[in-house]
């Protein structure tokens, strides 16, 4: 159809020309006609050839840019293999370019990665994964179900801290590309914690690795992800990856992927030293004016006021409620963060979470209520305006430090604002600004009264509630309230892990939020704005992954941005 139109378009001018020369001699007409015919034949054949080449030549599905540079303020996050990256989000993300998981998340939710399809059999308590037969290791060996089974066994022997394989009874290989993972008991966060987080290791390489933590063999960086690891400089904090052109999801969009250390991301972006960087929210407008695309994360990170609920008076729920009523969260946001944040839910989960409960007890700023609660506990205001009981002044110690968010450490004045707010109510506060490791150590050992702290993952899998509430799950975390005093809460936390039905799990999770907000072992303060900027010139769309990458990493470096989209 197209060719016919094309030919007619070229014939019409010839007839036109022939009509014009009818007025001349027949020889001239003949010569002209022959010349025109030849001309037409040449034009026609060259056009046909062009169309042929355009249609038949093997064209890559996605054009590849030469390189993409990502800026990061710290630089060094360890070597990108499961045992040598740092246990923080940026370390995992650097590893994720090299090692693929069974499933992954893009901007819409879970998508196939190494597994094309999967299903859960409730009766057998087993997940079945059908692997993509095109998947290859970077040394071009085929990736099979045996590798998946080997990975699980290997992580049982050499624990990979990001995942807990205790719930897995065994992995059964049912063919080269079919594997069944049997659970010892139902485990609702399986897809998030194992399927979407566990990097699959090549059995033919790791089977001979005895001590993975100190193994430096370059072969231990052979994965099945879209990029091959090439080089890492600890001194410079830089990483170099090269695209794996035989990647089962198609050739990656950039030939090289480079991470560089950048102290001032905005300047690095403007100078085009980097293509993507996390920025302070204030920088968004100037960068937009310069043609950059600014992206914002959902509310996936929250700042908390940690409370030592194991000692008096903090072990009294009324005192914790009084603290919550005394803290004006909007004032903290305005004074300490120039308005770039939103109040967090007292139930801990993000307002963007599909299981978020909007009906949890809340504590809007109300100093009078705070005073009433303190007075109900027997405190009396002295002449100096501060509360006291039995002749002893009500005095608390507040620890504050610069918290690292998504790998970027930023100073704030939260501690100062909270101190002023509590003192306005009548609670005397000793503010102690410490370096983060010291604060963490004191919180960890319960040597504190109040501490400003924070963590991400609140828009990820609700297993986070268990980790951030119960000491059974979060004993090693300084952000966990480690609150085990309420049997009802403990029961609900256990139940949500065992509930495989999403609807019923949602009900339990919402109940947990309500109970937690009532008991208030820690006070959720606010969720800061997370922003990043990139230049659209290279045609790559970066985004913040809903629920975060893997277990909830709030970093806009999803490998799907550089992977050709799968066909529906």
């Amino acid at each position: 159809m197209k060719q016919g139109t094309f030919v007619a378009f070229y014939l019409e001018p010839a007839y036109e020309g022939a009509r014009q020369i009818d007025s001349g001699g027949s020889y001239v007409i003949m010569r002209y006609a022959v010349r025109m015919m030849m001309k037409k034949a040449i034009v026609f054949s060259s056009c046909v050839l062009t169309v042929f080449f355009l249609v038949c030549r093997p064209v890559p599905a996605v054009s590849q840019v030469q390189e993409v540079r990502i800026g990061d303020s710290k630089g060094d996050w360890g070597y990108p293999n499961p045992f040598r990256h740092y246990p923080r989000g940026p370390g995992y993300v650097r590893m994720s370019w090299v090692f693929d998981t069974l499933v992954w998340k893009d901007e819409k939710g879970y998508v196939p990665a190494l597994a094309d399809a999967w299903n859960y059999d409730a009766g057998r308590k087993a997940f079945t994964f059908h692997l993509n037969p095109k998947a290859l290791w970077h040394d071009l060996q085929p990736l099979t179900a045996r590798d998946v089974a080997f990975t699980i066994e290997y992580f049982k022997k050499h624990p990979y801290r990001w995942i807990n394989v205790d719930h897995i009874r065994r992995a059964e290989v049912l063919g080269p590309h079919k594997v069944v993972i049997h659970l010892s008991k139902p485990y609702s966060p399986f897809l998030s914690d194992i399927g979407g987080t566990m990097p699959i290791l090549p059995a033919h390489i790791w089977s001979s690795v005895e001590n993975p933590r100190v193994e430096t063999d370059p072969k231990t960086f052979i994965g099945s992800g879209p990029y091959r690891f090439v080089e890492f400089s600890k001194a410079q904090g830089t990483y170099l990856y090269e695209s794996f052109d035989d990647y089962y999801q198609g050739r990656p969009k950039s030939k090289r992927l480079i991470y560089v250390r950048s102290g001032q991301p905005m300047v690095s972006l403007i100078q085009r030293q980097v293509d993507l960087a996390v920025i302070q929210p204030d920088m968004a407008e100037p960068l937009k004016k310069k043609g950059f695309v600014v992206i914002r994360d959902e509310r996936g990170w929250n700042k908390k006021l940690m409370i030592n609920h194991r000692k008096a008076p903090f072990n009294d729920k009324r005192f914790r409620h009084a603290l919550a009523f005394a803290v004006d969260r909007q004032e903290i946001i305005d004074k300490s963060h120039r308005g770039f944040a939103a109040p967090a839910s007292y139930g801990l989960l993000s307002v963007n979470h599909e299981m978020y409960n909007p009906d949890v007890p809340s504590y809007p700023f109300h100093p009078e209520k705070a005073c009433a609660l303190l007075e109900a506990m027997g405190y009396e205001k002295g002449a100096d305006g501060f509360y006291q009981k039995d002749g002893k002044a009500l005095q608390v110690e507040l620890l504050a430090s610069s918290i690292t968010t998504a790998g970027q450490s930023t100073a704030d004045r939260d501690g100062e604002v909270i101190k002023k707010q509590l003192e306005r109510v009548g609670i005397r506060v000793d503010l102690l600004s410490l370096e983060q490791a010291t604060t963490d150590s004191r919180v960890k050992n319960w040597k504190f009264d109040l501490a400003v702290s924070g963590h991400g993952g609140i828009s990820g899998d609700p297993r986070l509630l268990n980790e951030m509430i119960s000491s059974r799950y979060g004993a090693g975390s300084v952000n966990s309230a480690r609150f085990d005093a309420d049997p009802e809460l403990n029961r609900l936390l256990e139940a949500q892990i065992l509930e495989m039905d999403p609807g019923r799990r949602k009900e339990i999770v919402q109940r947990i939020q309500a109970v937690y907000a009532d008991l208030l072992p820690a006070i959720s303060l606010y969720c800061p704005d997370s922003t990043a900027a990139y230049h659209p010139e290279k045609g790559i769309l970066w985004y913040y992954t809903p629920g975060g990458i893997s277990k909830g990493i709030p970093i806009p470096q999803n490998k799907m941005s550089l992977t050709p989209k799968q066909k529906d």
């Binding site: 390189e67 303020s73 710290k74 060094d76 360890g78 070597y79 040598r84 740092y86 246990p87 923080r88 989000g89 995992y92 624990p159 801290r161 990001w162 100190v214 080089e231 400089s233 600890k234 001194a235 410079q236 904090g237 830089t238 170099l240 090289r256 480079i258 560089v260 250390r261 950048s262 102290g263 001032q264 300047v267 690095s268 403007i270 100078q271 030293q273 918290i403 370096e435 983060q436 490791a437 010291t438 963490d440 150590s441 004191r442 960890k444 702290s453 963590h455 993952g457 059974r472 799950y473 979060g474 004993a475 090693g476 975390s477 300084v478 952000n479 966990s480 893997s550 277990k551 909830g552």
Partner: protein, 329 residues
């Protein structure tokens, strides 16, 4: 025969001095072994406690047991002399290798700025003292006193804002554009381009002190009688300035050089952070942040030994620069 005896006597005289330095080195070794352990917090808490990995009690205990293996001081000493300075917990790499990777950048930035500011500061100070009372000298003293009052962080931020953010003449971060295919000369130019702003910051921070110190020493020397004698003999001014006066004003500068070496590691931390420049300062800062004991011990030990060695070398250099020191001892 007599000269051999003299040499021997000299060596014997030096022995207590070398022994004193040896004892100081031993004390430093012990300090580098024990002090970092006094830091509040530990590696497992610093690394895992607020990470995405939430450890349960069992996992935490296992890691803590792995990372808190104490080494006795004797073993530490033996490892030190066999250059086995340990394995960094956080960087998962031998400490010696980490120091070796970061050291060239520190030497280039700090060593370079230190040396250049000393040479130029000394020359400018000598010239200013020689022209004492002139408008040039007054302007020099005024501007250097002003510069001395600006902290490194102030200079760094101003230079960064003007030359990097607004004018865009110099890169904002790093020590070179990494992973580019280019010739050696192009790489050198790129490294110098990246070095310019942090180097200038440190140079401007160190120059005024050197200038003011050498000017002050020189003013004192120029009042001495032997300078009067040299003038009376009709010696050329350049020779009086440098061969007679400046050489005698050099000692305080050399002492200052030795003292400033102590800032080799920590001195550039602010500048390294602002310009994201690699170096020992950043390495130490990161190691302290995660309580990476082997690495902290390694860097503290390395820098204290460098200070000791430089000061020991200066002891010998004093006598060579100013023979009066030799006679006095």
């Amino acid at each position: 025969m007599e000269s051999v005896m003299r040499q021997k006597r000299k060596r014997i005289r030096r022995l207590p001095q070398v022994l004193a330095y040896g004892l100081a080195a031993l004390a430093m070794l012990y300090a580098s072994y024990s002090l970092p352990r006094w830091l509040p917090g530990d590696f497992v808490t610093a690394m895992y406690a607020s990470s995405h990995v939430t450890l349960n009690a069992e996992q935490e205990a296992e890691l803590r047991a792995y990372y808190t293996q104490q080494k006795r001081f004797g073993r530490y000493l033996a490892d030190f002399f066999s250059l086995q300075w340990g394995y960094s917990y956080a960087f998962l790499s031998p400490v010696v290798r980490l120091i070796r990777e970061a050291l060239p950048w520190t030497l280039l930035l700090l060593g370079g700025a230190h040396l250049l500011s000393m040479c130029l500061g000394f020359l400018a100070g000598v010239e200013a003292a020689w022209r004492r009372g002139s408008a040039l000298e007054k302007a020099g003293v005024g501007s250097m006193t002003f510069l001395e009052g600006i902290p490194e962080i102030g200079t760094a931020v101003i230079l960064f804002l003007v030359f990097s953010l607004h004018l865009g003449w110099f890169p904002a971060a790093g020590s070179e554009t990494v992973y580019l295919e280019r010739s050696g000369a192009q790489r050198l130019l790129d490294v110098l381009h990246h070095l310019a702003l942090p180097f200038l910051t440190l140079f401007l921070a160190y120059l005024p002190g050197n200038f003011l110190l050498s000017r002050g020493s020189m003013v004192m020397v120029l009042k001495a009688q032997f300078i009067e004698t040299a003038r009376a003999k009709g010696l050329p001014p350049l020779r009086i300035r440098y061969a007679h006066a400046a050489r005698n004003a050099l000692l305080p500068m050399v002492t200052r050089f030795g003292l400033r070496i102590a800032f080799m590691v920590t001195g550039a931390l602010v500048v390294e952070t602002i310009y994201a420049y690699p170096g020992l300062g950043t390495l130490l800062f990161n190691a302290i942040a995660v309580r990476d004991l082997p690495l902290i011990q390694g860097i503290v030990l390395f820098s204290s030994l460098v200070i000791l060695l430089v000061n020991l070398a200066l002891e010998f250099l004093y006598g060579w620069i100013d023979p009066r020191v030799k006679h006095a001892s």
